[in-house]
Point group: none
Chain length 223, copies 2
DNA sequence: ACCAATTATGACCATTTTGTCATAATTTGG
DNA sequence: CCAAATTATGACAAAATGGTCATAATTGGT
C-alpha cells in the first residue's frame, strides 16, 4: 500500500514510517501542510495519515481541500486533542478515522490498513467508456452521446470485449474465445456478420466511427 | 441512509435508533446475532452498527461471515472492551471503525455517517446471496452450492428480483412490473410458468427449496 | 372429505436471436 | 490498374427463448 504521512514532528514521523514500512507498505513523508497537500494531490496514495496540527496548513484544511477536489483517498487523522468533539469535527470534515495521541503503533497500523483496505482493489468495474460510448455492465445498457442503443446479448458481449480492450487490436481468435467460447475456428464468418450488425447500431447513425477494421489482424475500438 | 443496528440491550438499541432516525436515517434493529446476520444478508444496508457481545452469535462472527460472502457494507463495531488490542482485532476482522462504550451519541452518529459516506454511493452491488444460492450480476452467473446453474435472461431477471427482496414476499404485481415491465395484468399465467421453470433449475436438484409459494400473495425466496 | 380457488407443469406455438451462405465491396501487392 | 485476398452485408434458415393454453396438482375453508 502507498501511504502518505503528513507529520511535522520528525521523531514521530520517522517512527511511523519505519513501522509502516516494516509492515510492507511504501511510505512518503511530508513535513508541513503545504507540501502534504501538494503531494497528496499529485500522487495516488492508498491512504493518508494526517496530523491535525501542522505548520503552514492545518490538517483539516488539507482534508477539506482534498474532498472538495473530489479526492476520496481514505484519511486517518492523528491528534493530540482527544476530545470527543474534535473527533467529531475531524470525521465530519471527511476523515475516515480519527486517532488520538498517544496511540500505540499497533493500533495505528490496524486502522490505516482498515481504511486503506476499503478502497477496494476488487471494486469491480461496472461501467465502460470509450469516447462518447458508454456501457453499463449492471444495467446491461449501452448509449452513445446519451442516446440508448439496444443490443442483442451476443452483440453486447462482442462490444464488451472490444471496449475492455479499447485502443488495442482484438483478434478474431480472441473474439471467438471470449465472445463465443469457441476454442477452434468455426470456419464461418460469424464474427464478420456480428461486427456488421454492431456497426449498424453503434456507428451508422453517428459522425465518426469507433469500430475500426485492422486488416489481417482483427478489430479495434477507438475514438 | 439505511442502517442496521445489531444490539441486544433494548435500552441502548432504542436510544441509538431514535437518535439515528432523528438524523434522518432509516433504522432497523436486530436483537441477536442470528437475526442480525440474516437481516444484514437479506437487505441492503448502507452501514451496520454491530455490538461486539451478542447472544447467539458474536459480533465479530457476523462481521467475518459477511466479509466471507463478499459483503462490503461498512461496519462500526461497538464494545464495552476499550482495550487497544480489541480495537485492533475488530478492525482486522474487517470492521471499518471501532467505538468503545461508553460513547457519546454525537460521536456514534459522526462515525456511522463517516463510514457510510465513504462506501461510495455509486459502488454498486455486484453479488447477491441467499443461503447457498449466489448470483453474480456482472458475470451473469448463478450457482447453488458452488455448482453453476444456467438461466435464461427472463429467469435471471426473475431470480434477481426475488433475491433482492429475499425474505420478503414479492407479489405478482411487483414481478410484472420489475421483471416484465408490464403495468397491467396480462391475464395469463406467465409468472406461474416462469416460476415453475426457475424452480426446476434452482430447487429441483437440491435438498431444501428456497423458492416458497405464499398462497394468495406471491412468492418468497428464503433459506 | 369435498369443493372452489389457486398454483404447478407439460405441450405447443410465435417470436426473437443467432448462425450460414451467397454475393458485393474493399483493400493490398504486383 | 488488376487480381487475389479479405471484409461487408442482405437474405435466409436454424435454434433458442418466451408466452399461451389445457390440464393436473395442491391448498384452504366448509
Amino acid at each position: 500500500m502507498r501511504i502518505l504521512v503528513v507529520e511535522d514532528d520528525v521523531v514521530a514521523a520517522d517512527y511511523v514510517r519505519k513501522g509502516l514500512m516494516e509492515a510492507g507498505h511504501v511510505v512518503d513523508l511530508a513535513a508541513d501542510g503545504d507540501l502534504g497537500l501538494e503531494m497528496a494531490k499529485s500522487a495516488d496514495y492508498d491512504a493518508l495519515v494526517l496530523d491535525r496540527m501542522l505548520p503552514k496548513r492545518d490538517g483539516l484544511d488539507i482534508l477539506k481541500s482534498l474532498r472538495d477536489d473530489g479526492d476520496k483517498t481514505p484519511v486517518l487523522i492523528l491528534s493530540a486533542l482527544g476530545e470527543v468533539d474534535h473527533k467529531v469535527e475531524g470525521l465530519r470534515a471527511g476523515g475516515d478515522d480519527y486517532l488520538a495521541k498517544p496511540y500505540s503503533f499497533t493500533e495505528l497500523l490496524a486502522r490505516v490498513e482498515a481504511i486503506g483496505r476499503r478502497s477496494d482493489p476488487h471494486a469491480a468495474v461496472t461501467k465502460l467508456t470509450v469516447g462518447e460510448l458508454e456501457m453499463d455492465l449492471l444495467a446491461r445498457t449501452v448509449r452513445r452521446e446519451g442516446q440508448k442503443i439496444l443490443l442483442q446479448p451476443r452483440e453486447f458481449r462482442l462490444l464488451e470485449c472490444l471496449m475492455r480492450n479499447a485502443g488495442r487490436v482484438v483478434t478474431r481468435t480472441m473474439l471467438l474465445e471470449k465472445v463465443w467460447d469457441y476454442h477452434f475456428d468455426p470456419q464461418t464468418n460469424v464474427i464478420d456478420v456480428h461486427i456488421s450488425r454492431l456497426r449498424g447500431k453503434i456507428d451508422k447513425e453517428f459522425e465518426t466511427p469507433l469500430l475500426h477494421t485492422v486488416r489481417g489482424a482483427g478489430y479495434r475500438l477507438q475514438v
